[in-house]
């Protein structure tokens, strides 16, 4: 049996257990409603969930643009210039260890409980790993490649476009993977804390009235969103980085960043 089939069987088994255990009364429906009742709850209020999903996706998209755009831009500057690197990197690294969610109440004071505070919080949350990965990606470019390009008469802008950017893509992508995942976390968590719309808000509201099937319907939607994001990044990675096997140095730097990013979400 291959690893893939085994993995699929495990997933199918878990889904089956999700249906069977609550139905058999092994787990109370309040703790874990059966899959079918969860889906039914979601289906019956599809309009409400659809609206919430739209709000959340909108916030995720905007935050993603800020986090990734800003992270790549600043990471590129910090990675290529030694002076800002010495100044900024220690600060960013320490900031990375702080549970940023403590700032969220402040954001709601500044920006209100609408989408703006979620976008601000999630942008900063996803920005840090993207920036760190980009800086590492630029720093780990083999200087020999730049020298070779120069020997062939490449101008500064040609070196940037034809060498530095393609060489940094794998590390930047792995930064985007972590940064993007944190953006989703940031948006949902902030919706759960203080808000009036979005999937996180729905989950939080149904929890207070002990409506477990509706809570889990929201959880399923977040899960689907995260999986879809991951699949999208994987697809881009495959498209953009067929040569990754040839560049272990960049990959190692990316792994370090990814390992550092495993911190409590809130």
């Amino acid at each position: 049996m291959t690893a893939t089939t085994l993995r699929r069987l495990i997933v199918i088994g878990l889904i089956a257990l999700w249906e069977i255990l609550p139905r058999a009364g092994v787990i109370p429906e309040l703790f874990l409603p059966s899959l079918s009742s969860t889906l039914a709850a979601g289906w019956n209020d599809a309009g409400e969930y659809g609206h919430a999903l739209a709000v959340t996706l909108y916030e995720v998209a905007i935050s993603m643009a800020f986090a990734c755009g800003g992270g790549i831009l600043l990471g590129a500057i910090v990675g290529s210039l030694p002076r800002p690197r010495i100044l900024i990197m220690p600060m960013v690294s320490s900031l990375y260890a702080v549970p940023l969610v403590i700032l969220y109440p402040v954001f709601t004071v500044w920006l209100g409980i609408g989408s703006e505070s979620k976008i601000a919080f999630a942008s900063i949350y996803g920005f840090l790993p993207t920036m760190l990965a980009t800086a590492a990606g630029i720093q780990t470019i083999d200087p020999q490649l730049l020298l070779a390009a120069r020997s062939m008469g490449a101008t500064l802008s040609q070196r940037l476009v034809r060498v530095i950017i393609p060489a940094a893509i794998p590390t930047v992508l792995s930064g985007l993977r972590v940064g993007g995942a944190l953006v989703i976390v940031g948006v949902v968590v902030s919706e759960m804390l203080i808000s009036s719309a979005g999937i996180g808000y729905l989950i939080s509201r149904y929890r207070t009235i002990l409506d477990s099937p509706h809570v889990f319907a929201g959880v399923l939607l977040v899960l689907a969103m995260a999986i879809a994001f991951n699949a999208a990044i994987k697809w881009i990675e495959r498209k953009a980085a067929i040569w990754q096997t040839g560049s272990r140095a960049g990959q190692r730097a990316a792994d370090e960043i990814t390992a550092g990013a495993i911190q409590p979400a809130t």
Binding site: A148, S151, M152, Q158, R162, S247
Partner: protein
């Protein structure tokens, strides 16, 4: 008045002239004299090897010939004109392993210097094909560097150095990262390519055997400050063969170089 650029160079294409060249590296604490008063003439079509212990400035000298670094004093001319910046039409450079762009295929790597100059795609492809054929990699153009062996990667590098047909090819320890067998084969391959193209080759190496085996002339350098301590003519017949390695003529040349290097080490 006639602009300077229109004056025909007095030296033929492929000649290298190094006159009283010095190089000083400035560090925060002190100035390090890397090269001192180096003078050297390479005639067109010659195969010249630079040897010397680590830190003798042989790679630095090569980088200055490539226009990648400017000397502190003295002059260097390639085909009769100074080389203030890299010029792939006059000088091709082959580095140690790992200077191929891993995200490009072999043929795209070879096309790279042409692409920088905006040469049309079809023209580019044709010239890359010719260069790959010359180095014996016909049919491997679509592979990425990680799908090629170390020796094949260096063949691609050589093809990339030759694609603009410069009269001079500079090679900085190109086979240093290869295993012994591949290194021998690549040496023979390089001699074949050199004979077929008639380029002037300046080749930097640590290996005395490689130096004598490949060269018309061997330049021996001393460590800091780098100076030329000997200039040997290698009169072994061509084509060079494996059997020559164990001959007396080969041995005495290698011994002579070794004695210089041992003295300075």
């Amino acid at each position: 008045m006639q602009p300077l650029a229109n004056i025909t160079p007095l030296k033929p294409a492929g000649a290298i002239e190094v006159r009283n060249v010095g190089q000083i590296f400035k560090t925060t604490t002190q100035d390090v004299v890397a090269l001192e008063d180096v003078s050297l003439d390479v005639k067109p079509g010659r195969f010249v090897v630079l040897v010397g212990p680590s830190g003798c400035g042989k790679s630095t000298l090569l980088m200055m010939m490539a226009g990648l670094r400017q000397q502190t004093s003295g002059t260097i001319t390639i085909s009769g004109a100074p080389i203030p910046e890299p010029d792939p039409n006059r000088v091709g450079v082959v580095f140690q392993e790992a200077s191929l762009f891993p995200w490009l295929t072999a043929e795209e790597n070879v096309e790279f210097p042409l692409a920088l100059r905006g040469v049309a795609k079809s023209d580019r492809r044709a010239r890359a094909q010719d260069a790959l054929k010359l180095v014996g990699l016909d049919g491997f153009g679509r592979r990425h560097p990680h799908e090629l062996s170390g020796g094949m990667k260096q063949r691609v590098s050589i093809a990339r150095g030759l694609v603009q047909d410069p009269p001079v090819l500079l090679m900085d320890e190109p086979f240093a990262a290869l295993d012994e067998q591949t290194r021998m084969t690549m040496g023979d391959e390089l001699l074949r390519i050199w004979a077929a193209t008639g380029k002037t080759v300046v080749f930097v190496t640590h290996s005395l055997t490689e130096a004598v085996y490949l060269a018309d002339e061997v330049i021996v350098m001393s460590p800091r400050p780098g100076r030329i301590v000997d200039h040997l003519q290698v009169s072994l017949p061509r084509p060079r063969t494996y059997e020559m390695l164990s001959g007396d003529a080969f041995g005495s040349l290698r011994d002579r170089i070794w004695r210089h290097i041992r003295k300075s080490a």
